[in-house]
């Protein structure tokens, strides 16, 4: 024990021994509660023939205790997922489209659920105008009262005061609030008063104005006011109007104007809690597309939306098609097992299918997402596994499927799209130009499938 070097050596040996014991020891589970809730505890032997789907409550009874299955994931190559488009499950929509063209019905309405790829009306803006150019319709559909992304919105200009409280489905502690179909709801602040009346700064307001020739048509305010009558003040073009919202246990759809306008601003003077969803801009005729996008969403949390609120939205808007477009937030280059996602997603679709009447659903696969390997951009290597699961989700839930990945060009298409200026530098999100390209592509696909449908008839 003469030198310090020997002491260092002993310290090192003891440390390694302790660390070895630590490595072998079972790990303490900090979040065991969470694990039980989550769906990832279900072990599924991956094969095409055998499939075990169980709801979380059933897993505890059927799963033998402490027995672990080895997951075998079958390798999936990019070449195996090139097709799979299936629009036969949404022929109900095409029937209505045919009726609209023949003048039997007046209106078609599509709800587009998405993530950051389509946030702030990217893509859907162009998709909508394609429909409206050919079949009529004036208005951008539903616009939320408050949205952090409103500054990027490309179809109309949307502003709001900073004193709103906003609740979103992506935050666990906020899911108890009556969230709207788009996964979001906003609460105006209670205004303060002084000797001169209301303090202007404490009043919550939101405003919409025309942009790119998109006029605001027939604004309908949607809110939930259960406790006290609430006065509101709204400005249409240059006229200021006032009205009082009575209480109701149901959602209220209040038509503010019956014509095309250029500017709308609404201020709220609530006496008690009240929830504002947003404003709908749509006419009685034509085709409308509502963009319900939430940044960072995986699309597997619809089950947290209350069914009665969904139903009220659905009854008012009479949706003819739901489009679900997710995946960019699910993929992870090193993952291969997406069975948890399939199970969660199928529960979500089941939740949406409980609506009466339930509109047909179209599932759009993820587009391309770039990953950098050394210095080269390629498609993220897990994409085939995810798309395979998405195809299976569509097949099992009997909903339509559109393989966007193939439509964009298949493997490594992000490189080409980026050089054309259609993707942002992260090789995932669309630029404005790319959004237009995507909207056109989606519309063309619909038209092509519609022709196929007509031929089959």
């Amino acid at each position: 024990m003469k030198s310090e070097f020997a002491k260092i050596a002993i310290i090192a040996i003891i440390t390694v021994v302790v660390m070895a014991i630590y490595t072998v020891m079972p790990k303490f589970d900090y979040f065991s509660e969470k694990e039980q809730d989550s769906l990832s505890v279900i072990y599924v032997e991956a094969s095409d023939s055998l499939e075990v789907t169980t709801s979380p409550s059933e897993t505890h009874t059927t799963k033998p205790p402490k027995k672990k299955y080895v997951k075998k994931i079958k390798p999936v190559a990019f070449s195996e997922i090139t097709d799979g488009d299936d629009f036969t499950n949404i022929s109900e929509f095409f029937t209505k489209l045919e009726a609209l063209q023949q003048g039997k019905i007046n209106k078609l309405r599509i709800a587009y659920f998405g993530d950051s790829i389509t946030e702030s009306d990217l893509g859907t803006n162009n998709f909508r105008s394609c429909w409206q150019d050919s079949l009529g319709g004036e208005g951008v559909g539903f616009v939320p009262a408050v949205s952090v992304l409103s500054q990027f919105r490309s179809s109309i200009q949307h502003k709001f005061s900073s004193n709103w409280r906003e609740y979103s489905i992506s935050k666990v502690q906020e899911r108890k609030f009556p969230l709207g179909i788009f996964g979001n709801v906003a609460m105006p602040s209670l205004p303060k008063t002084d000797s001169l009346g209301y303090v202007k700064k404490s009043v919550s307001w939101h405003s919409y104005s025309m942009m790119d020739g998109n006029q605001l048509s027939k604004p309908t305010l949607i809110l939930l006011n259960q406790k006290e009558d609430m006065p509101i003040e709204y400005v249409i073009n240059n006229d200021t109007l006032r009205t009082i919202i009575s209480t109701s246990d149901q959602l209220q759809f209040i038509t503010l104007s019956d014509s095309l306008i250029k500017y709308l601003a609404i201020s709220y003077y609530p006496q008690d809690t009240c929830y504002v969803y947003g404003v709908d801009f749509s006419d009685k005729r034509g085709v409308y597309v509502d963009n319900f996008s939430i940044r960072g969403n995986k699309g597997n949390n619809f089950t947290h939306l209350q069914l009665d609120i969904l139903e009220q939205f659905n009854n008012h808007f009479n949706y003819d098609l739901f489009i679900l477009h997710y995946g960019a937030n699910v993929t992870d280059p090193i993952m291969q097992d997406y069975s948890w996602y399939r199970i969660a997603m199928k529960n979500n679709i089941k939740h949406l299918q409980q609506l009466k009447p339930a509109p047909p659903i179209l599932l759009i696969s993820m587009g391309d997402r770039g990953a950098m390997v050394d210095t080269l951009w390629v498609s993220s290597p897990d994409i085939p596994y995810l798309i395979k699961e998405q195809q299976r989700i569509a097949k099992d839930s009997e909903v339509g499927f559109f393989n966007l990945f193939t439509a964009l060009g298949g493997e490594n298409s992000n490189v080409k799209l980026r050089t054309q200026g259609l993707l942002t530098p992260d090789h995932t999100h669309f630029t404005r130009k790319g959004a237009k390209y995507f909207g056109d592509l989606l519309y063309d696909k619909f038209m092509q499938e519609y022709q196929t449908y007509l031929k089959r008839q």
């Binding site: 030198s3 310090e4 070097f5 020997a6 002491k7 260092i8 050596a9 002993i10 310290i11 090192a12 040996i13 003891i14 440390t15 390694v16 302790v18 660390m19 630590y22 790990k27 900090y30 979040f31 969470k34 809730d37 989550s38 769906l39 990832s40 950051s116 952090v148 990027f152 900073s162 992506s170 935050k171 666990v172 502690q173 940044r295 960072g296 995986k298 597997n300 949390n301 937030n329 992870d332 090193i334 993952m335 948890w340 996602y341 969660a344 950098m372 050394d374 210095t375 942002t424 530098p425 992260d426 995932t428 999100h429």
Partner: protein
């Protein structure tokens, strides 16, 4: 068992050994355990450490081991030639510089040259598939310092190639600095080695300080915040962009200084001293001061071997000399996936140094720096300006392209509103806490370090070992629960369905 051993010994390109990877602990332990048996005999000790160093480099870069040995051998030969043939010394020196800069340039700049050639001539020469050896920027500068110092008669050539190879490849400083000069390190090889109890404790503390900065601060900020903002700056508000820049500033400091800290600490455990590389850079009150505190071994290298030969501040145009030095400093940082951003970064710093030099020669600056009352106001202002300047230049350092840097800057300068801060703090509460802790540690007084080291040096062998294991286990546990922390505390919740992943993050300077 046998297969695992072979795995451990062989080179794996996707998982190079690093200070924060678990297998490094085993590697270091083996090296430390044998060391007491050999440290008394110089030759044996040098051979022993050389073998470990070569193995370490093989685990990081594979066959490039031969390049390392080749560079060492060429410079060893040229060094003795310069010493023996004084009249032809210049020619040999140029030969050495051509070899060193040539290998460096081949790996760093060939593809950029091809791209430039193609765009000028319109030809279609294919890019070469060049794999970049880790640490080449560092060890070529070390060997250059050897031949240049011999040429300047400041150093005598070493007699044995063994010693020289050991100097070039000593594993703590091999891949990411500090850049150790021959004149600093070579004399240490033959000295008797001894360390005191206090030095051992402070080295261990230093290693853990590095691990803390790397694993807890740098990795957490990079993975959970910085990456997403820098990859898509237009998708975030101006405030979020600005905070990302501040976060990156502390992240790159924590990342890089962590490596230096661990290198210095590990070398000390073997009885070797390495030069300091960082001195709390964000406390600097001018850009010049910043470069005296940031990556000191590089800035003094550039000063002694580039700026002063160019004429320094005595001959020629001083401002031009400053600019050339900083642009070449930027060029040194160039990586395989970005070129112009580093050049812009270097020239911005050059410009700032020029402006600072002009300013410091005016009477007003003299007055502000000497008058007690004015100094009280001027110093904080100067610090604020320097800090923000340095942070904004990091935008170019980190950005993938000039365009993306530009998007980020335009978001910062055109799209900042005060109310965004509230939204940011709700969305990224945890990030805010980590940032605050990181900056707090940076600005704490340095003398507090001794308060921690002294009591721990009295713990004894077993106590120290248990403390070391405790800290290591805490770090491993932190890594394990990290995905959950972000979910539990932050409001931006992703679904808890995906499994947590443990991945060793590379040191940023590892790739230079």
């Amino acid at each position: 068992m046998w297969n695992k051993l072979i795995d451990f010994v062989s080179y794996n390109a996707t998982d190079p050994i690093q200070f924060n990877s678990p297998i490094f602990l085993i590697f270091l332990t083996v090296a430390l355990v044998g060391y007491p048996l050999v440290f008394k005999k110089v030759k044996l000790r040098t051979t022993y450490l050389l073998l470990f160093s070569l193995f370490f480099f093989y685990k990081t870069s594979g066959v490039f081991l031969l390049l390392l040995l080749g560079t060492a051998y060429v410079n060893f030969i040229i060094g003795s030639l310069i010493y023996k043939h004084r009249e032809e010394a210049k020619g040999f020196l140029i030969l050495s510089i051509i070899w060193n800069l040539g290998t460096l340039s081949f790996f760093k700049y060939t593809n950029y040259l091809i791209v430039g050639f193609n765009s000028v001539c319109g030809s279609e020469v294919n890019l070469l598939n060049i794999v970049f050896p880790a640490g080449i920027s560092f060890f070529t500068f070390q060997t250059m310092s050897y031949t240049i110092d011999i040429y300047r008669k400041k150093l005598k050539p070493v007699k044995s190639f063994l010693d020289f190879a050991f100097f070039v490849s000593f594993f703590p400083q091999l891949v990411a600095g500090p850049i150790v000069r021959a004149s600093y390190f070579l004399p240490q090889i033959n000295k008797k080695k001894s360390v005191t109890q206090l030095e051992v404790t402070s080295s261990i503390m230093r290693i853990f300080n590095g691990l803390f900065k790397k694993v807890i601060i740098a990795d957490f900020l990079a993975l959970n915040y910085i990456q997403s903002v820098f990859s898509n700056p237009t998708g975030f508000s101006g405030t979020a962009n600005l905070i990302a820049v501040y976060a990156y500033a502390i992240k790159i400091y924590c990342d890089f200084s962590a490596y230096s800290d661990m290198a210095i600490g590990i070398a000390k455990l073997f009885g070797f001293d390495l030069p300091e590389n960082f001195n709390l850079p964000y406390k600097a009150s001018s850009v010049k001061d910043f470069w005296n505190r940031w990556h000191i071994s590089l800035s003094t290298w550039l000063r002694d071997y580039l700026y002063i030969p160019l004429g320094g501040n005595r001959r020629g145009n001083t401002y031009l000399n400053l600019m050339i030095t900083m642009v070449l400093g930027g060029l040194w940082h160039v990586r395989p996936n970005a070129f112009w951003t580093y050049i812009v970064w270097g020239s911005l710093h050059g410009l700032a140094l020029i402006i600072h030099r002009m300013w410091s020669q005016t009477k007003l600056s003299e007055l502000l720096n000497t008058n007690f009352l004015l100094k009280l106001f001027y110093k904080p202002f100067a610090w604020l300006m320097t800090f923000n300047f340095v942070c904004l230049t990091w935008v170019f350092f980190r950005a993938n392209s000039i365009q993306s840097a530009w998007e980020m800057l335009s978001a910062i300068f055109t799209n900042i509103q005060v109310n965004q801060l509230l939204g940011w703090s709700q969305e990224f509460t945890v990030i805010g806490i980590f940032l605050a802790v990181a900056y707090l540690f940076h600005f704490l007084p340095t003398r507090w370090d001794n308060l921690i080291v002294k009591p721990f040096s009295k713990l004894g062998i077993v106590g120290t070992a248990l403390l070391v294991s405790f800290i290591l286990i805490s770090l491993a546990e932190f890594k394990r629960i990290e995905p959950y922390i972000h979910q539990q505390l932050s409001t931006e919740v992703e679904e808890a369905d995906s499994a947590p992943k443990y991945k060793v993050q590379q040191f940023e300077y590892y790739k230079f």
